[in-house]
């Protein structure tokens, strides 16, 4: 029942926000998100580290119960539920500093988004998964299209069509798979675990591999399906960008782990290396582009694209290092990227520019911001004892185990990451002050309360990663049995 509460509560909170509306909207939304955080925290603390799905529920739904409304939390879901539960209140809090028009709608959309994301990460039925996967698009579309920058209409249209287009492939694949279950009895099932046991021919596996791959690759995004991403990140209002980069792109990685690997293992054997090659190209390509970006938000967007490439490569390596690494790194990346976008938002709104060459010397005025920024940066460049290291270390180990050369090339991320991140930090914080940065105000109290939990997580995951790895371990081991 806990899972059902996690799924329904944000919707109730959102409706409440809409009903009350007005100036209290953000406070109510924040309180609602905190309750949701408590629910997911409860799940985290009471999760028994085994391979089962816990706190689950299961109701018949369509076609006499062959499609079921069924959800639960297992080791693969858990960290993403925690991530969604943790980031949503912080994203809402980070938005407090701005006044948005129609705040009730704005904040309720964030909560609707949360409900959909939770659904994606807990669904145990393939069609339920698909439903939530698509439903998550709606709130983010409105957030971006209504509160975004100048080009928002064109950019969000492209984003919307692009991702819908990708998921249609997934829908076709799911329908096909559905009809492959229990052909003898004629009673089909769309339970995800039933799909794992299908015996599919090599040709079928290839087709389904690519159908899934395109859907998830667009979402993450993997090279060359990424061109919607930088524009969308830049044009969206920062809370929407945080939802996109912090949580939504993990739907793609999660989908690969949850559906693609165990359903079409032979397809992965055959095409996994191709997928890794694309991912690794993305790592290097994205990082190289990030090196020269002048727009702080666009720079972070390309860096995120580069980091996600590594997660994809790690997952497709089909190793326990790679998958465990991806699970931890999804949590770590969510934390770091939300923090980085918040830094970008603070700087951009106080200096009225996002261009690095117009900044400089901010550190003189901002001891607190400097420290928070530095900690998040260290997490992003995967310095040991921060969250990024654990994830990237395991991911690279996984890719390296799969193929030494690809592992080496993927490793370039630690060099390029340092190049563009330190450049960003130096250009913004160090050097001489400019007209726009003179008299910069350090972070305020409520801003600090966004950074403090994020920085705490950076060190918690970095110092004691086993408190997360131990929880995901049995589920990953179980999953690998379907793959091997």
């Amino acid at each position: 029942m806990l899972t059902l509460s996690i799924l329904l509560f944000p919707i109730l909170a959102a409706l409440l926000v809409l009903a009350v509306g007005g100036k209290q909207a953000k406070q109510i939304a924040f309180a609602g998100a905190l309750v949701e955080l408590a629910l997911s925290g409860y799940a985290f603390l009471n999760f028994v580290p085994d391979a089962t799905s816990q706190f689950s529920f299961d109701y018949p739904w369509i076609f006499a119960g062959s499609i079921r409304f069924s959800a639960g939390i297992d080791g693969v879901s858990l960290l993403l539920v925690v991530l969604t539960g943790l980031l949503t209140p912080l994203i809402i809090l980070s938005a407090f500093r701005h006044t948005y028009e129609r705040p009730a709608v704005f904040y309720s959309l964030i909560l609707f988004m949360q409900a959909a994301l939770m659904g994606v990460f807990t669904a145990r039925d393939a069609f339920l998964f698909y439903l939530y996967f698509e439903a998550a698009l709606i709130p983010i579309y409105f957030l971006a299209a209504s509160w975004g920058g100048e080009n928002r209409i064109a950019v969000t249209f492209k984003f919307f069509v692009y991702t819908i287009f990708g998921s249609l492939f997934m829908l076709v694949a799911l329908v096909y798979l559905y009809f492959q279950t229990s052909p003898a009895t004629g009673i089909h099932s769309s339970a995800i675990t039933d799909l794992y046991n299908l015996k599919l021919s090599a040709t079928e596996q290839t087709w389904i591999f690519w159908a899934f791959f395109i859907a998830f690759a667009i979402k993450m995004p993997v090279f060359p399906f990424h061109t919607w991403q930088p524009d969308t990140y830049v044009e969206s209002p920062t809370p929407a960008t945080m939802l996109l980069a912090g949580i939504m792109l993990k739907m793609g990685v999660y989908g690969v782990i949850r559906l693609l690997l165990p359903i079409v293992p032979e397809g992965v054997d055959r095409w996994g290396t191709t997928a890794i090659v694309l991912s690794v190209i993305g790592i290097v390509y994205g990082a190289l582009i990030a090196i020269r970006q002048r727009d702080i938000k666009r720079l972070i967007a390309y860096s995120s694209f580069s980091h996600v490439g590594l997660m994809a490569a790690g997952v497709f390596s089909q190793t326990s290092y790679g998958i465990q690494g991806a699970l931890v790194q999804m949590l770590a990346h969510g934390i770091n990227v939300v923090g980085m976008f918040f830094v970008a938002d603070i700087i951009a709104s106080r200096t009225n520019t996002r261009l690095l060459d117009q900044m400089g010397g901010i550190t003189r005025y901002t001891p607190k911001l400097t420290v928070f920024f530095m900690i998040l940066l260290l997490g992003s460049v995967a310095l040991p004892l921060t969250n990024g290291f654990v994830g990237e270390f395991l991911l690279l180990a996984g890719v390296f185990e799969h193929n030494n050369i690809l592992g080496g090339v993927a490793g370039l991320t630690i060099i390029f990451g340092a190049v563009y991140m330190l450049r960003l930090f130096q250009k913004a914080m160090f050097g001489k002050t400019t007209d726009l940065t003179t008299g910069f105000n350090d972070v305020s109290g409520s801003e600090s309360w966004v950074f403090i939990p994020l920085c705490f997580m950076v060190f918690w995951i970095g110092l004691v990663p086993n408190s997360f790895l131990k929880l995901t371990e049995p589920a990953v081991t179980n999953l690998l049995q379907f793959i091997k």
Binding site: I62, Y141, H226, Q324, P367, F400
Partner: protein, 645 residues
């Protein structure tokens, strides 16, 4: 148990100092900052002495096995586990003594040197943090904990090089150091992955035990050692990854002494000695290492001959001396490499701190053309600098003579050509060091009248560390006096258990030296004779003939010009690496993204054309319809669920 606690305290004490001074920056009173910052390292040094004492006591009973302290399991995936744990053995003890001992002295010195800086508290906190990471590096019981320290010291090096962060060129130097180190770190990381694959563990004990069963020249081991050595090249500034170190002199001088001379840059040597079994199994890597080492030693020394910035001369000297250390390792003279790490820590820290004292007195002037005659004004600095100069030049009986001589002796046994080159480098060392000494402290003062009035000896907090290091630079060599001179080679004896497995896999390489005593005397005579000759040449040039280095505007002869411009290596890297990378970045961003996007938009356009025909039936936008479709499916499914319930 008590030992475990002591061991844990060693890295913890500086970390506590960092936290107090870091969080309390600008709140902790200035007087207290220095006390807190220096207390951590000093207390850690005391712990090291206690641990050392305990360890030697049990070693006398024949138990020379390493003491491992597991704190907790850090990263566990399946059966693979990386414990967060420390290993105390002969090698880590020597490094611990150097790091906490010299580290403490430099902390005390920094109190005097940095007290009036705005960022004093921050500076001291960073120094503490550096020490913490350096201690993790040498204490870790596996490669991944070493890697934590390895990257951590890189971070502190970055923070301290760019400490005066208003200056863009300092910031660039800091970034260059971090990025170049990261190139090396990638090699290290890939080496760790190969170790994981080959041995299923990253713990030294497990890895070396298994490695001892591998044949010499095993391809996996060769690859591992090569990759690890790439890491060492970055951290210990060897060709081609050395250019960050001279630039790193942008940092405050105590930083140069601690990080860029005495401790961090020797991490690469520590890593190779730590992995000596693997390197002994891989003669090819050792050959390559020898080539890179001698090339680095000579290249850096030759650049040092003509530099005019007091810290730059010392920086190139450090690069060159690191080359000597690797040269020793490359002929399996592992102890000699470590010995040189130790003596170098004494005299090079002393030289930098002396340079700091000079810069302090000269009101931040670093150009030796504007110095001269300082011995009258800074007597303590002068005498200690002189001692360090003699020590580094390899003139007996000071510290550098013994360690360098031991390296050269091993090299002579292995390869005569390398030895000749080594001796040439040794002559250059002596020359550039005495050139520096003479131009700085002798002759007449060449600075402005204003600076002359400002000249003063540094305060006691700065001169006391100088005196202690001077004593160590004099006697440091006696820790490992060769038998030919009636010594007992105590360092070699102490470190012996570290090389047990190496001896097992290649007994031949560790035989007693074949050199007779008279041959050894000859080698010592030649190397010290060459050093003294170079001294005399420097004396004639700079004291008798009063040759002053020319101003930058003067056209130099070709050879000197090339040396003065550091062989144009920075320019070369700029043109073959930095610019092409930028170009690629721009090309990808403008051209690559354009093409990919074009394909996407083309597809979109085609869809739109088709749907455009259908659109005549209806009004409104595609976006709306797609949205309406999804939304209505969602609503229908939801309703269905609740109605069924």
């Amino acid at each position: 148990m008590q030992t475990d606690l002591l061991i844990l305290l060693i890295p913890l004490l500086p970390l506590i100092g960092f936290i107090i001074n870091g969080i309390g920056f600008r709140k902790v009173p200035t007087g207290l900052v220095g006390i807190i910052a220096a207390a951590g390292p000093l207390a850690a040094f005391a712990c090291v002495l206690l641990v050392f004492d305990g360890f030697t006591t049990i070693s006398e009973l024949g138990k020379t096995a390493p003491v491992r302290t597991v704190l907790f399991d850090w990263i566990t995936v399946g059966h693979f586990n990386i414990p967060f744990s420390f290993q105390i053995d002969q090698l880590s003890l020597i490094m611990l003594l150097i790091v906490t001992g010299v580290g403490s002295l430099i902390h005390i010195y920094s109190i005097g040197y940095m007290k009036h800086d705005d960022g004093y508290g921050k500076f001291m906190a960073f120094l503490n943090l550096f020490l913490f990471f350096m201690l993790l590096l040498v204490m870790g019981s596996n490669y991944v904990v070493m890697f934590i320290g390895w990257e951590g010291v890189g971070l502190c090096s970055y923070l301290l090089i760019g400490f005066w962060n208003k200056n863009t060129s300092y910031n660039n130097a800091a970034r260059k150091a971090f990025v170049m180190n990261r190139i090396g770190d990638l090699g290290f990381l890939l080496g760790i992955f190969m170790i994981m694959g080959a041995f299923g563990s990253v713990e030294y004990v497990d890895v070396f035990e298994q490695a001892a069963g591998f044949p010499i020249g095993d391809p996996t081991v060769v690859a591992i050692t090569m990759l690890l050595f790439v890491g060492a090249m970055g951290k210990s500034a060897q060709i081609p990854l050395y250019t960050w170190l001279p630039d790193a002199m942008a940092g405050p001088t105590p930083v140069s002494a601690l990080i860029h001379a005495a401790t961090m840059v020797t991490a690469g040597i520590y890593m190779v000695v730590r992995s000596n079994v693997l390197y002994t199994l891989s003669p090819i890597t050792l050959e390559i290492m020898g080539g890179i080492a001698i090339a680095t030693a000579l290249l850096a020394a030759s650049i040092g001959l003509v530099q005019n910035d007091i810290k730059k001369v010392l920086a190139y000297s450090t690069v060159s001396q690191l080359g000597y250390m690797f040269l020793g390792l490359s002929v399996m003279g592992y102890t000699s490499g470590m010995f040189h790490v130790m003596t170098h820590a004494f005299f090079k820290a002393l030289l930098f701190l002396g340079a700091g004292s000079v810069i302090h007195a000269m009101a931040d002037e670093q150009d030796i053309r504007k110095m001269g005659g300082l011995r009258k004004y800074l007597p303590i600095t002068y005498w200690t600098f002189l001692i360090a100069t003699i020590a580094i030049s390899g003139i007996p009986p000071f510290a550098g003579f013994f360690s360098k001589d031991e390296i050269l002796m091993h090299v002579y046994e292995h390869n005569k050509l390398l030895w000749v080159l080594g001796v040439i480098g040794s002559a250059m060392t002596s020359f550039y060091m005495f050139r520096l000494l003479f131009l700085t402290f002798f002759g007449r003062f060449r600075g402005t009248e204003h600076t002359r009035e400002h000249l003063h000896e540094s305060p006691a907090s700065m001169t006391i560390p100088l005196l202690v290091l001077a004593v160590l630079s004099v006697i440091g060599g006696f820790f490992n006096v060769p038998e030919a001179l009636g010594g007992s080679a105590s360092l070699a004896e102490f470190l012996d258990p570290i090389f047990e497995l190496s001896r097992k896999v290649s007994p031949h390489s560790f035989d007693e030296t074949l050199l007779t005593h008279s041959e050894e005397f000859m080698l010592m005579g030649i190397s010290s004779g060459v050093a003294i000759l170079a001294l005399v040449v420097a004396y004639v040039m700079y004291i008798q003939r009063v040759n002053l280095p020319e101003a930058d505007t003067v056209e130099r002869p070709v050879v000197e010009k090339v040396l003065y411009n550091k062989y144009y290596i920075d320019e070369l890297y700029e043109n073959i690496i930095v610019k092409p990378t930028r170009g690629l970045s721009d090309a990808f961003y403008s051209f690559g993204e354009f093409i990919i996007d074009g394909v996407v938009n083309g597809t979109g356009w085609a869809v739109k054309q088709t749907s455009g025909q259908l659109r005549r039936l209806q009004t409104g936008s595609i976006g709306f319809y797609v949205f309406a479709m999804v939304a209505s499916i969602a609503v229908i499914l939801w309703l269905r669920f609740f109605i069924k319930l």
